[in-house]
Symmetry: C2
Subunit: 282 residues, 2 copies
Amino acid sequence: MFMEWDRLYLGDCRAVLVGFPQNSVDLIFTSPPYADNRRKSPYKGVSIDRYVKWFLPISNELKRVLKPEGSFVLNIKERAIHGERQTYVLELILKMKQQGWLWTEEYIWHKKNCYPGKWPNRFRDAWERCLHFTKDKRFKMFQEAVMVPMGSWKEKRLSQLSNNDLIRHESTVSSGLDRKVSNWVGRRLAYPTNVLYLPTECSNRNHGATFPETLPTWFIRLFTQEGDVVLDPFMGSGTTAIACIKNNRHFIGIEITRQYYEVAYDAIKIEKAKAILQSLNH
Amino acid sequence: MFMEWDRLYLGDCRAVLVGFPQNSVDLIFTSPPYADNRRKSPYKGVSIDRYVKWFLPISNELKRVLKPEGSFVLNIKERAIHGERQTYVLELILKMKQQGWLWTEEYIWHKKNCYPGKWPNRFRDAWERCLHFTKDKRFKMFQEAVMVPMGSWKEKRLSQLSNNDLIRHESTVSSGLDRKVSNWVGRRLAYPTNVLYLPTECSNRNHGATFPETLPTWFIRLFTQEGDVVLDPFMGSGTTAIACIKNNRHFIGIEITRQYYEVAYDAIKIEKAKAILQSLNH
DNA sequence: GTTCCGCATGAATCGATAG
DNA sequence: ACTATCGATTCATGCGGAA
């Protein structure tokens, strides 16, 4: 039931990517396993000192399959160990530049609800990097697709809004991805910044998704148009793919573990079915 | 009228710092001239490719004068040139590690109202790095001094709160330095995260202040106690010094340009006078 | 049908304890 | 001395059962 361009692969992206044609993908959005973090994944072996060397061949293949006007958004964050932040992400940026990538921008995902905890030497880590790489200075960017209502929600007459509306609205301020677009009627729109203030999704139906659907959705709308192709070489439970279906983009997903692959497969099948039914209603 | 420990220097910090005793400063907070940014400053000549080499001798002196349990907070952000983010800040972190600094944390200053503008290839830059370096894994940190009102979700459910309470709840993610915090007496406090959501405040006649007073204030309260000594080797218009006076910390400021030095001198004199009058009222 | 409350849980990190 | 494992800490969120 998947269409020609919508494909899932069960396998190691290092091997799978080799078979892809060059210059064929409009956007790569992915969140690779962080160094020594996912204990249940086969990537467990990627230690901190080997991380950059492990990733560079992958980023090289990604550069090959990406269209010249396409974008690569890498969601990643280094850990703190023994009181120090690790530096492998910084080194990765420098090496990818040597590889020919342009480091165009660093977007910040400011997590609305981050992991709890208390330590004597640091606070909770409430942000992650979304590194934006391109092959060319002239890349596709559709800024209007992610515009947000101007001004703060406080400007609206509070007394007329229910508390639910207030809560919902606050969550839209930075993302502009809420369904309640009706609230925006008559409001002027503004361009967002390079900081995304989004909640993490926890303990809901999302099987182990490491980022909320709004994160890939934002970049998909920003860097692609309908019908474009989006690749996620570390698909996980398929959050990027779901975001693609909901926004009429094609997707290619690669996942190395059978467990996550099957979770993603089922979720995508359901989302596809929903999309078909919805298109029939129109 | 300055006290023994409160000192201002007109000169190049590379020369001035040499005369300082070692292990004598509790906190260094500074925002150095960004590469090729301050055209009016004598540091204008610091080009991007020379920036790291220019800064390393300074950071080495800073390490010497900092107490072993002290902290160094470096507010900096690389520029984007010809569509690319520059990498000199990343390289600086790596080199300072080699120099013996511990890169303890990277705090994010999420700017509430950032500089306006529109470009075809990027959004407005709404964040800056506040790099936290230390000499030792065991450094002073007073987390209780910067606690913020806890999310109201658990205490009372939202439906029971007034609209005013809802507005204040927004300040949960901000610094907690507002006067409104006093209204939260009796409410539980929570520890903040490593993201500071602060306005950029150009309200005062702050001549060219590159950061709002709340930014140094937050770190001063977090990393020092009353009577401690704070150093800003690139004082500018004296924002860090003002924050010190208001929080009963001693300060040492160094500024290379006579214009900024005089602006800072006057502002500090006024703030000192205010502080003295206030202490008499008690 | 609502609203309300309890509870589990999530890209975490440190220090102590054990091998 | 070095690595490996475990408990303690913490809070926004959604789910489900109760009022």
